[in-house]
Symmetry: none
Subunit: 139 residues, 4 copies
């Protein structure tokens, strides 16, 4: 057996704080959301589907958070470049169905390092982004 | 647009209560766990990976909860019957890698109906079952 | 854009050192191997398929390294408990085909934390384990 | 047992030479990259994720190299024809998420035969193409 455990980059307490802040914003704007937090390796740390949020958005929220880790950017930054006339059109098809290239995924940054990411889905992309931002601000 | 939203069978508040009760038991026995709650449709409602729990157990916990819904039983009930000399040996291969046929997945029952399920993974199967039971008892 | 980049847990130079040490051992015992190194998140950092190694072992080597991260142990430790009469028989079916439950995957540990893992495949399990150990010792 | 082993089309030494040349160019232009080399069967021969390169680009780099073998061309050649107004729009959806239809994947050619391919990802498509070209030139 190894003499240690896998290095953690985000705690369950931090993940809950991010989710609670995002959920509070979602409640404030009256739009239930799926909210997911992943660690720096893109692995799920916590998730909640608020009452009324989409079942289809479970995976979208997780994939938005994963994508923010995978490309070290907000998913919103991928939207223009992956459109039909963009330089990397087709990106979302090139990774086995795990990428989301529209707003709602935001890295969680500390001291210059991305330690995790939050992904939000169910509302409009403006709402998803606003709620994800509220979550990220609580990290 | 439809005149309604998808019927919910478990609330986010209930799911959190189940997770918190399971996490309290996990802390008590000194074994961090992945804990997942799904609704009656087998879709993820909430998940948390406690600090120190396995990354590989994210999927196992979700699949245990899914399996408890999928076959309307505790995952522990599937263990004997799916062994090489059992009547449904091979079951775990028959559903695209989504089934877990060992202890740790328990249905959440109310008034004779299964409303959701909890799945727990990372510890021994005895620990997983004990922690899942503590979660189910809080439903 | 975020003000930082994803936290790294293992460098490319370290990964190459591990691979080169493993490959040297593989050459010494006359058995070409697939050798993969993943980071603490289970994501591929480097891979080489030595001349003569199995094409099918590309994925097995990567999955062995992933499994060592996913369950915070050597893959050899999973062999007994997942056998037909073991407590978690069926584990290898419960994670979408990403788990390898036989020897050849070993965590890379530093200061009590698992920072990555090495996975080796193509030879016998004794050879795979020996070559992975040589790689891990060079970390 | 067969009287032989699977025909190899590219050696590990050649793959490393291609990767090292690509990595040197990546360092020169200040853009860390994922770099993958596959053989004539489209199977991974070697991969490295340079420090700072995208986790999401592991798969993209591998898929660019695979795509260059799969369609016997540079991935850049697929970009125009797969756009919404192109003759094979939809191609990237037609192969289970394994195709990349933008620059960065280049065949490795010897004596008129494609012996393998290199795929590069993380930078802009111009950077990916430049780094892949440097790798291919070293073959």
């Amino acid at each position: 057996m190894p003499q240690g455990s896998v290095l953690e980059t985000i705690t369950a307490e931090e993940a809950r704080r991010v989710i609670d802040a995002a959920a509070a914003k979602a409640t404030e704007i009256g739009q239930p959301m799926d909210i997911a937090v992943v660690d720096a390796g893109g692995n799920l740390k916590a998730h909640v589907r608020m009452d009324g949020a989409n079942i289809g958005s479970i995976t979208i929220a997780v994939n938005k958070a994963y994508t923010a880790i995978a490309f070290q950017c907000e998913t919103a930054d991928l939207q223009g470049v992956t459109r039909p006339d963009g330089p990397i059109f087709g990106l979302s098809d090139a990774h086995g169905g795990r990428l989301a290239v529209f707003p709602g995924g935001i890295p969680l940054v500390r001291d210059g390092s991305i330690m995790g990411a939050v992904g939000v889905s169910t509302g409009t992309i403006e709402q998803d982004q606003e709620v994800a931002s509220a979550g990220a601000a609580a990290y």
